[in-house]
């Protein structure tokens, strides 16, 4: 008997008291949520309230937040990078940043003088470790928990990209903000690799006192781009 057969047989023995016979007792998962609708599945907040809640929760966990219009995005990005002293930024393929030339490392000064952009084309981990900043978009944000979620689609990059540089600048459109964790899951593709980010990396392992900044980016900044325009 293989280990697989053995473990499954043990489970069936252990569940000898269950009502339906094994094999017929399996409801189709996903259609059998045993307690649907009892907990909240909608925050009921207005768009404005969602934004202020998200801003509050991001700030509470040490993420910086700034807002801008679509027309002001390029200037806002460059101002954020300059304030952190970031000179070399890496971006994922497919990032759309009108007003900034991201075409390659050979064109420094395309944006503000002194900031150099490189598009990730399969850089090694050590190469990623040489950048000051990474700029990405996100799939959505959850206001109640102050969470942004990246799913690796164009503009967000592979998982290592948003992990290794020490400063993560994330661009989010207002319309991407939902209220609750339960609202976010149906919108996310389960089969994409997902990274949920709530503030900068942190640890509470020493006397349970929170230290911000361990292995992941020590600085997280979110730019909220207003709808329209």
């Amino acid at each position: 008997m293989t280990a697989r057969e053995d473990v499954l047989a043990r489970i069936r023995t252990a569940l000898g008291d269950r009502q339906s016979p094994p094999g017929q007792a399996d409801p189709a998962p996903g259609q059998a949520d045993p307690a649907p609708g009892r907990y909240r599945t909608s925050s009921g907040l207005s768009a404005g309230d969602l934004l202020s809640l998200l801003t509050d929760r991001l700030s509470d966990y040490g993420a910086a937040v700034r807002s801008c219009t679509p027309a002001g995005l390029a200037a806002t990005v460059e101002a954020a990078l300059a304030e952190r002293g970031a000179r070399r930024a890496v971006v994922p393929p497919g990032l759309d940043l009108p007003g900034i030339d991201l075409s390659g490392p050979d064109l420094p000064g395309a944006g503000l003088p002194g900031i150099e952009y490189t598009t990730d084309d399969g850089l090694t981990a050590r190469e990623l470790d040489t950048f000051d900043a990474v700029i990405t978009t996100a799939a959505l944000a959850i206001a109640e928990t102050g969470t942004i979620v990246l799913d690796g689609t164009p503009g967000q990059g592979r998982r290592a990209l948003s992990l290794i540089p020490d400063y993560h600048l994330c661009i989010l459109r207002d319309s991407q903000v939902v209220g609750l964790v339960t609202e976010a899951l149906p919108l996310l593709g389960a089969r994409r690799p997902l990274t949920w980010i709530s503030g900068p990396s942190a640890t509470s392992d020493i006397e349970l006192s929170r230290v911000q900044g361990v292995h992941g980016p020590r600085t997280l900044e979110v730019i909220l781009v207003a709808a329209g325009g």
Binding site: T2, A3, D6, V7, L8, R10, I11, R12, T13, A14, L15, G16, D17, R18, G23, A25, D26, P27, P29, G30, D33, P34, A35, R38, Y39, R40, Y61, A125, D129, I142, T145, G146, G152, R159, A160, L163, L180, V181, T182, A184, L185, A190, R191, P193, L194, T195, W196, I197, S198, S201, T203, D205, I206, E207, L208, S209, V211, V214, H215, G216
Partner: protein, 497 residues
Amino acid sequence: MNAREAAGGSTFLGLPTSPRGVGHLRGDEPFPVAARRALADAQLRRNLGRATTTIRAKRARVVAELPDWEELREAGSAIKAQTMANLDGYLTQLEAEFTARGGTVHWARDAVEANQIVTGLVRDTGATEVVKVKSILTDEIGLNDALAAAGIDAVETDLAELIVQLGHDRPSHILVPAIHKNRAEIRDIFLREMAGVDPGLTDEPAALAEAARLFLRRKFLSATVGISGANFAVAETGTLCVVESEGNGRMCLTLPRTLITVMGIEKVVPAWADLGVFLQLLPRSSTGERMNPYTSMWTGVTPGDGPQDVHLVLLDNGRTAALADPAGRAALHCIRCSACLNVCPVYERTGGHAYGSVYPGPIGAILSPMLTGIEDNASLPYASTLCGACYEVCPVKIDIPSILVHLRARHVEEARHAARAPDPEAAVMAAAAWTMSSPARYAAAQAGGRIGRLFVRHGTIRRLPPPLSRWTRARDAPVPPAQTFRQWWRREHQDPR
């Protein structure tokens, strides 16, 4: 079925428990002996008292923010019960989905088999060093020892696990394995054991975290094999989920070419939407945060993103033996948040080491004996005052006090079957379970209890006759009232005014 019948041996069904001689589910000495030594350590008690007080307040604050906390607990409990009732179906579905997306699934009956599988997989890559995400399960099975025996160095990357590993110590808490160490002790460990550390290192938590960052950065960037546990695995989609704070998890799950995840079979959840419940319950109960900084989810292999050789090891190691006990199987619902440790008056004073198992505290007192067989952890079901605080905070509503009493009764029954005399407290607990399951017996016993008034001196009971003298040796027993509540009720309500 009452506890007595459940304990009659019909629940074991011959299912094997976790094997002896491997892993860390059993202590070297019984709880009372280990606890007595821990209680004498004033530094340990200060560290624990401070830490558990902090985390209790944080948890209470964020739980109070959610208007539907009780509904989420109900849902978490119901989802877990449904999972256990159909565990075979969900596991085969998980296997099919994970495999369809390029992953490889392995099954392990016990710790020995799981260690062999993982060691073999690492050997196949040629790696001599692996980076590990914090995983209690791999500690349960003693994976690091098995890898070391094969010449493979396992580097713990969670800060607390690193402190424990460098200190040649054992974890003492589910969430914060180094909770028993304060900052000065941690600094000393780093100065002594961490290669290349700055000799001027201070004991500021930020400085200590920075030292760990520098030390581990090199390991992450060159790692070829990562090993993790899993907080959840979704049967419907084949998705694995790991929650963490530091980013060490993301490093291990993303940078190596090969990723091996070892998971207890009870960690599967049926549906994608179920994560919406557990990702609210777990961080608020565990670290007292609205959400932990990082949660990673992956489904098999994603071309061009992360590990391209992905394995999942599904482990039994006594879990089916626990599942076979209808009155105790809810222990398998645990999502390892550690809230029950932080509120437990026993844990707060003894710390985690006294429990002897990687699962300490109230949940450990029921889970460890069920995984090993009660005989091998016989003192743990008694390591509780049955105050009920653990049940109050449990995010999936595991009735830990009732299972503790049930396991005490099972222990007595098993000892009787083995023709060995159980200790007097065990016998009393079995008798209590029998008595309290019948209103008539309970009333009669209460009336009989008033005989205790014969032993009253100066308003309290200082000494009872053997075997009850063992109880009164350490504390006074309350004096039974002259009439029971039931007698008072009957008199008040039958006498018309």
